[in-house]
Symmetry: C2
Subunit: 197 residues, 2 copies
């Protein structure tokens, strides 16, 4: 198999990249400068060599701990639990959260064979139990999907016995959305969670 | 800048990959096995090191000449002219063409500053003139777009003086298409090019 075919097979393994897109990307790389291809190769090598999950929260990092865990100025008492590491960035970039994170590495999905043992739930409980009461709140920021919801309910059951406040991200109308295009379940949630002005 | 950020910036340079897709691809690679990331890196390195345009036709290859130019069983008298190297594969995979190819490396597009000097037209003329009359037909398989059409007309002008048959891919109804959904220009072309049954 030629290097071109192998590259397009490798690229075709990426999510959302089919055979045709993989071919298009391959020829784009071929037509571009060799230096660009080499830089991409080098960056991939570096990522494979240097990046690893933070042993504390599961976020990806190059140093011993991730930038969030390493930052002493962040609130140590609040842990925001997310499904995947890329959600840490999404919440952090919003710029209103200054606490800790914990990455589960997925969500409960029995049909896909993902049970509690597949997620980093033990790590979360150890962090809370080992904090000597410093952890005061756990924000369950799993997705607003059926599986994300089930995961949050499961975690809430485990955390209830511990003396921490357990919260869940509010559901409601996304900022900037037209009510006309918002689905009924979301409107129902927004009504149920309505607040005094 | 961290290796993660650099990887997602590099991936974001690929065509059709925006900032969000680049992040998604990056985290997909991070979550997968290191071996997969390393294999992709190695394949990119190999492509950068080994693959080059065929000095004869402009198709990409790893050997001295591309597989088409190297194959003595192919018809040496017909040259199919395409805009880009990936179109060689598209035509070859269709399995009905057994002649040579020539890759222009683009199409005439004065608005983008792409004139005849940017394309490998000299190479094409040298191949025809240097074949000692062996080249009997040149198939202009540039795209059916305005620029592809202009490129074909320009090439036809250069080739007219030479004793070769100059043909163009037929335009018409794509196989399997419903007439209802075919645009008017295509129907007009199909009518103009109608054939005896």
């Amino acid at each position: 198999m030629s290097a071109i075919d192998r590259l397009s097979r490798e690229l075709g393994r990426l999510p959302g990249v089919g055979t045709k897109t993989a071919l298009r990307l391959t020829y784009h790389l071929l037509k571009g400068r060799k230096g660009d291809v080499r830089r991409l190769a080098r960056t991939l090598e570096e990522v494979a060599a240097r990046v690893h999950p933070c042993p504390r929260c599961g976020n990806y990092c190059e140093a011993e701990l991730c930038p969030v865990c390493e930052d002493p100025s962040r609130d140590q008492g609040v842990i925001c639990v997310v499904e995947e590491a890329y959600e840490v960035g999404a919440i952090d970039r919003a710029g209103h959260y200054r606490g800790q994170f914990h990455v589960l590495g997925g969500r409960l999905s029995p049909l896909d064979g993902i049970g509690p043992e597949s997620l980093d739930i033990d790590g979360l409980l150890e962090r809370i139990d080992g904090s000597g009461g410093e952890t005061t709140e756990v924000i369950l920021a799993t997705n607003a999907s059926v599986e994300g919801e089930a995961t949050a309910v499961y975690l809430e059951g485990l955390l209830r016995a511990r003396s921490v406040r357990v919260t869940r991200l509010a559901r409601g109308i996304p900022v900037g959305a037209d009510l006309e295009y918002v689905d009924g379940t979301t409107i129902a949630e927004a009504l149920a969670g309505r607040r005094e002005m």
